[in-house]
Symmetry: C2
Subunit: 677 residues, 2 copies
Amino acid sequence: MRTPLIVTAVFLLATFAVAQSQPQLNLMPMPASVQVGTGQLPINQLFSVAVTGSHDASLDSAVQRFVTQLSRQTGIPFRSKPGAPPTLQIHAEHGRQAVQKLGEDESYELTVTDSGAKLTAPTSLGVLRGLQTFLQLVQIAPSGFAAPAVAIKDQPRFPWRGTLIDVSRHFIPIDVLKRNIDGMAAVKMNVLHWHLSDDQGFRVESKVFPKLTGMGSDGMFYTQAEIREFIAYAHDRGVRVMPEFDIPGHTHSWYPGYPELASGSGPYTLDGDGLDPIMDPTRETTYKFLEKFIAEMARLFPDAYFHIGGDEVDGKQWDANPQIQAFIHAHGMKNNQDLQAYFNQRLQKIVAKNHKIMVGWDEILHPDLPKTIIVQSWRGQESLAAAAKQGYSGLLSFGYYLDLMWPAARHYAVDPMADAAATLTSEEKSRILGGESCQWAEWVTPENIDSHIWPRNAAIAERLWSPQEVKDAASMYTRMNAVSLDLEWLGLTHRSARLHMLHRMAGPGDITALRNLADVVEPVKDYNRWSDAKGPIDFHAPLTRMIDAVYPESDAARHFGDLVQTFVKSDCKDFAAEAQIRSWLALWRDNDARLNPLLEQSSLLQEEGIISLNLATLGAAGLTAMDYIDKSERAPDSWKTQQLAIIDQASKPSADLLLMVAAPLRQLVEASAAQRN
Amino acid sequence: MRTPLIVTAVFLLATFAVAQSQPQLNLMPMPASVQVGTGQLPINQLFSVAVTGSHDASLDSAVQRFVTQLSRQTGIPFRSKPGAPPTLQIHAEHGRQAVQKLGEDESYELTVTDSGAKLTAPTSLGVLRGLQTFLQLVQIAPSGFAAPAVAIKDQPRFPWRGTLIDVSRHFIPIDVLKRNIDGMAAVKMNVLHWHLSDDQGFRVESKVFPKLTGMGSDGMFYTQAEIREFIAYAHDRGVRVMPEFDIPGHTHSWYPGYPELASGSGPYTLDGDGLDPIMDPTRETTYKFLEKFIAEMARLFPDAYFHIGGDEVDGKQWDANPQIQAFIHAHGMKNNQDLQAYFNQRLQKIVAKNHKIMVGWDEILHPDLPKTIIVQSWRGQESLAAAAKQGYSGLLSFGYYLDLMWPAARHYAVDPMADAAATLTSEEKSRILGGESCQWAEWVTPENIDSHIWPRNAAIAERLWSPQEVKDAASMYTRMNAVSLDLEWLGLTHRSARLHMLHRMAGPGDITALRNLADVVEPVKDYNRWSDAKGPIDFHAPLTRMIDAVYPESDAARHFGDLVQTFVKSDCKDFAAEAQIRSWLALWRDNDARLNPLLEQSSLLQEEGIISLNLATLGAAGLTAMDYIDKSERAPDSWKTQQLAIIDQASKPSADLLLMVAAPLRQLVEASAAQRN
């Protein structure tokens, strides 16, 4: 099902050419093949578009959105002259499927010369992708806005390029999802995996079982009308919407309304008890319920795939229920895993009866299930490869968990075809359909979810679209920075929300000092915020701490690290780098004194005292190190030991934040102690 | 009709108390009376509201919006406990008028103690005003969010506090207007004066005369359904919507569709000819047309007031038309002004027949018109006072033209009751109903209109609401800065749009140097951009220059000016000020070198070379001046003369921009040459 991979030498040549003689092409994801020509196509008030070939309402509105976006990006109100030749000619051979299909042709060719541009594609879906590339090509130049002359042939490496958004732990309104769809379309992602139910809330109106939201949510859920409108919105942008209803675990929210589905005795309240109740797979009434429920949802969600979750089934309630244990024995099963497989088999039949293909997490993999199901792996390429060997198709999400707060480069380095997957036969490889980034919603609200997804998601989008060989992290960061700005034009708030959140903490005055601190910290990684939380998460608590406002990845710290690297590599002789390093260090050294009045006046900033002081200490240590280096004097060992101890201390999380400049500071201190006297 | 003015000693005492012992109250407009108490009301998850007294859907939705806004501002998801006493009790004696009336009671009383808050008002309209005050009271404190204990009695000084938005020169979509309504409501303004037609475009659907928009617009106009929905939106927020159809001048857009209305022979095209065609007041068919048109619009716009423009009637077409001149003679008129008065009399009857009160600009004032009309003065308090003496009610707009790019303090200093108006009898004074800021749209787009209106409009709002004695500019700026942030929370883009626009000019890289320049420049003032334009304005040209992106008022330049003032007043001994001044100067001196690569690569920045260089020159001159001062050495006269000449040069507009730090630089240079050796 995967589009065959065509990486040509052209691509590599092209990037070289780009790097050497042309302005940087801020394309992301990088197309499969780019040939850079000479000259450029001016974009001015006369810009116009003509569409030939297959034509439908979806294409027309896509072209309209494209023109609006280009006009906004350039600030030019277009006023083409009637009869003049179009600037951009668009031709699609065929239209699109009414319901977007996995593997539907997304390829396109885009040729730009100094006299015009041509975008052709086998389908209008390919045209959507090509229009995004065109938007990214247009840049300001000394002569005005222009698209450089290029010949691009492009197609995705993987047919399934998704983002999971969890809307259960914290409800995310439709308008926030829409702007994220816009972002996904901008980087050519094509699946929104909508995690619609979990312990903390059931988010879809069911007309058959109204108590699912009536008692299983805090009143925040999507009506069916909203869902239909949203799916049409996503379809218009070339994004499939796959629902997930996670069963039999992660189902607390089902039971306040329908306690008879649970394996324990209840009663259940949405906010109550720390229990992890799970569904009872031994009662026929459970399947009767699911028959009706899945039929209703299968009608509501047109996508061919239906995700039933299946992850992290905590068997305690099964163990504790004698009836369930008796059932296991009576049916010759060995354990709870067999029981879940039995459940999944029954489930798969219901899903298939509704003309859907079942998707589930790693845990559903069991030889009793038909090969048509799809396994989504949060465990890794090994698990994915094992499934592929057994004949199952799979998706990679391991390595793409945005909530783990990894830097973009770390996600970027994760390849679905790496490690165990690299050894597969080509037939087995073809079962690896792509991947999905995952935005679990324990720690996000509508206010900060954009900044947790973007711009890092663009790096994952590139991994899944572009040839495997495209993997230079420095180039990725440059292009991601450009895309990040484009995404703010589209209405995403991943950069702008921080300012509001910092002012909420510090009041309306000057917050420069707070921003200086925010610029160089990152949230703790992996699940460390959970372990620090000590006890169950209160999903109703405000998310208004510094950790909630800062970006998952600090650009300033990365730049500072690069600068120190450059400086040390130059044998401490790069004076431009030195001046910049010194000015950063002085800023940090003096920042704590400036910040303290803000910290004192705000309950939301009282935990930041230590990390602010640490930053000042590091700044001072760094300046002393620079003084030693300047004087070509070797820093005394005792001093070095003391500083490294301070840096160790400052490297520890404080207020769930990491001071990201600690590592380059260590490098500076070590360099100062390695000076030849 | 004006609410009687009650300024009590309490108010003045309160502001003193605030300044001395309490945190700054960021209230804007400042209420008529504020008594600060002790303690504060915590705002936490248990926050709740109860409403008693008069109740209607409009109040309910206002309270709902208030709670949402407070939750967003604090980041707290409220979860009040059922049965617990409410944090804020709201009581309105009476409901609101279905169509908001001029002079409808907007007063309220708000009492906050450490155990709860109470908001009472004679009408639910007063409750709307009080809720905005409550939102402004809530601030972050060491113990969490809280509202300080206060007793506020508040009411507007003037009953008419409006903003004119011109949507003809550049079309402004409904969503942009809506966020501006939100902003107006936040600062208690109560009239949107909607300038709906002008030479450049007719913006309202007429079902009776569809060619008004069909041929008199570029396809961008409001449908009647949109207008009705928008008026309801404004009404919900306590804002009246008064339409203006400017006649008989400013009417080019009427004639492509209906050339028979014009005084010349036509034909007319929307973009054509530099003509200023005006309506023919001598033909009965003109009045037949207006009868039908005004009847239709009077039904569409429920407000009691109907603005017919009447300004700047260029009589050339009347002079050139022998039939019109014959008409003037035949009716014993002396001149074109008499003809316009005749037209206005006829018009007033039509307006009155439709149960509306006619409003027009200064020029409509003529003794033949009934005293019921309202005169809006762009000419000044003298004109307003003259009208009041003759028995006419009036509004001041002179001094409140936002498109003239004045600093907020200059608008703030303009009082409707000053100058000639101050000498009026109290009866005459009562005819001065208030005022309106004006945002004419020659140089704005949906992208930058917010920054042209806000935050300066908040200063005008305060002038029209608060007691005349509230006039300290420094306090105004502090509070306006706080309000400005609140307005961005509401969705206005007056601060955030600049970043996008600067990146459009400079590309996706680091734009710090461009921002440094943008921070210290302002657009040329008054109508100087027009005169520089040389020739007619092209209303279809992109508005993407630096002048379009920068704020009308430079905060950085104002702060720098204050700093220099402080420094010079300290006899150049304030070392803290000196350090800050030096760091600004060094930044500017070095900025041109950093900025040049950006300027070179962008067509949109090529005109900024001179001003960037000027800034660098001023920075260097300032540093030299500081060196003289530091050494207590008198700067040589020849040096001083040379520097002042450079500053003179740098004070001249370049690229339609003013370098706002030139004046404080002059002060520094003069101080350095006044040193005692």
